[in-house]
Subunit: 487 residues, 2 copies
Amino acid sequence: MSTDGSVTASDPSFLDHDPVIRAFVAERRQQLIDELSQWLRIPSISADPDHADDVARSADWLAQRLLRAGFPEVEIWSTPGLPAVYAEWRSDDPDAPTVVLYGHHDVQPVDPVELWESSAFEPIVRETAYGEELVGRGAIDDKGQVYFHLIGLAAHLAATGRTSPAVNLKVIVEGEEESGSVHFADLLRDNRERLRCDAVVVSDTGMYGRDTVSVCVGMRGMVEIRLDVRGPAGDLHSGSFGGAVPNPVTVLARLVARLHDADGHVTLPGYYDKVIPLTDRERGLLARLPFDETRWLADAQSGATYGEKGFTTLERIWARPTAEVNGLWGGYTGPGGKTIIPSEAHVKLSFRLVAGQDPGDVQPAFEAWLDLLRAEGTIPAGIEITPHYDRSGVRPCLTPLDDPMLQSVTRAMGRAFGTEVLYTREGGSGPEADLADILEVPVVFLGVGLPDDRIHAPNEKADIELLLRGAEAAAYLWSDLAETWVR
Amino acid sequence: MSTDGSVTASDPSFLDHDPVIRAFVAERRQQLIDELSQWLRIPSISADPDHADDVARSADWLAQRLLRAGFPEVEIWSTPGLPAVYAEWRSDDPDAPTVVLYGHHDVQPVDPVELWESSAFEPIVRETAYGEELVGRGAIDDKGQVYFHLIGLAAHLAATGRTSPAVNLKVIVEGEEESGSVHFADLLRDNRERLRCDAVVVSDTGMYGRDTVSVCVGMRGMVEIRLDVRGPAGDLHSGSFGGAVPNPVTVLARLVARLHDADGHVTLPGYYDKVIPLTDRERGLLARLPFDETRWLADAQSGATYGEKGFTTLERIWARPTAEVNGLWGGYTGPGGKTIIPSEAHVKLSFRLVAGQDPGDVQPAFEAWLDLLRAEGTIPAGIEITPHYDRSGVRPCLTPLDDPMLQSVTRAMGRAFGTEVLYTREGGSGPEADLADILEVPVVFLGVGLPDDRIHAPNEKADIELLLRGAEAAAYLWSDLAETWVR
């Protein structure tokens, strides 16, 4: 056990690798490079309608590969948009738990194309200080991380001598993740029975760093609100009326200014009531992640950090809810001057939510907040406020550190990397929340990406060594889950 | 004398009209309708390049008419834009004061054309509850108010038996007022010697109302400032960074929120230091103007009044400086959502200034204000603020109530209308400030427009009776000035 009592893999017994699995995976190094490169050559850019055929070809490639891997059932699931791939391989153990494995086979656009050192869809292997990396669009996000499961599953079967996996495996690899997963929730709902499972494993995230093996345990949720502020029925001459009527842009600015108090807390009444506070143990574990503020600020292109008093930067991003202005506009925004009192102003707000918070609670809290501002006079007579609520919202998700599923992933990662495993979260909100919500099961993350993998950017790459470790971790995971899962 | 001691025309002796002048003017009623209609038929829309020839024709028409009126010197002054008309008629009295008379011969566009009940450039005479009105673009703004001076001057000569006016008269009628007077200041500077004078009479404004004869005594000045607020070097993902970096839109909103205190005072340090406060007498006179808040709000299309504590609506618009947001923008403003922390935000501010204030003082006050906000933490580290100052600005102008020139105008209006004269100001800022500034003389306003004349709107009209009263007032003014002016 680690000194802080975490369920990390610091117990030396967890760190033993399986020599059969390691050897099996190591022997597939060239196969991984060759086959993954083949897949990466298909430019499955989901955001570009011109590449719709390529996304379909990518789905076909994966379907064929899953069939060759031994999956008895492989299907292309069409959507009103681009196709997903579904595959199912039931365990011969009737008591085996059922796992849905999630990934995506579409990729980001490649602009700015001139910044690529090699062709985005002609993957190359490059020597690095740490070994070799595969450079190409999709190498890590997410084809590489879907692909390592094929090696991992084969290793699992080879090492255990099984003819079917130790868990019932249901693989869903969508084709629209990089363009907003617009049809994914419906796809999940339509195939809810088919996808019935005990847990979801998502392989589309990364680790904290090359020297900090970690598992992601949660993502923030989100609610968006647009606010329309209306004053005079038309723009007014600021000479004839200036100083004597309420200016809707000024009122909107005052509202935005009141969104946070002096300590950076969001002022919506009851906003924090259901937030599951960070435990001392979680804060301790987060604090053990090596945080380089200078480097973080360089990534953020920001001159300074800023945020809620009493929390570190990582805590602010991962474990604290926010209220952010995404856009604000009102009045004259063209060249030169136009001395008007604008008739209206608008703001787009997004609220990132953390574990415990319910997206459905934001609307009543916001209404109460507006009432408060009306009562205190911040919204004066003559100003009309119309909030527009995003009815859906995205739920936050968090796997408790003592969750058995998470412990399995932690052990699998610990054995693959031979080192202690720490925990991270994601500040963003993804289709993972749909998985947890619609399938009503815990979601855990098994990913081996690195912060410097340049996802969504030119020269995206994957460390080949880490993809092989991912395969190894997957191989351990299925056996571990089958052994430790309690219904 | 009026009960509040104002220099109004309530002294009965001021209210006597001159029967010769009144009869002379009354006889020119049809001439006014015919000649003014002729001029109004020329669509001298300065904002529309397609009407440049019409603006030139309008200038020619006026030049010819001034020659016929007897002006020995009449010139068309070309500009890089549209032409002005200049005319000069020196008095045969060597001690006569010199007056520049200002007006403009260009007109506003006529859109929305479908709302005109008659053709905009085919003026018609319509019966009203008060007599007759002339309907057409430019009827009151400003051709009608330039034209009445021709009748007025003729009446002045006829009644006094003079062969030249009692004052040295210099008439300048510009052709670009409705498109921003962009070349007017240069025209004044280039012809400063030619325009040397003791006072300027502006005939381009109105009275408080049909039953409230009044003279405008001042206009507000203006300074514009644009503020750029920059945070992260690029837009950031609000999931990955939200809550941990300063958001420039939020900071800008806080700045705007701090522009006024809870009582509606502008918070720029020293902003009010040089403001010439309203005297009790001025406030008393303003309070005597019948103010109908319901009607004012209908004009403002606003649900309520709002502004600086301790001042009435008219005081706020006419006699108090302001800080107004004309436009604000930052981040994503398109359809749907885009969950970013914007990289930058911008605001356009305008400050209306009142008598005593110097446009040049606003920049240092604004800088001091920014320093204050930096010191109090409203501008956090990581946020860069770049103000852009409008170097020119417009000076406020105000003629003191005891100014002899204003007293002459007051008496002239009082005699023409046979009633007490009150005082108004304008909340806006016009080329009148250039006249006062560049020619360095007092500016007074002789205007007979009404708030319901629909200037700049469809069905613009002028009350024919009021144009005739304007002519009469002009006739009285030249004699009064010659008699009372003390160098």
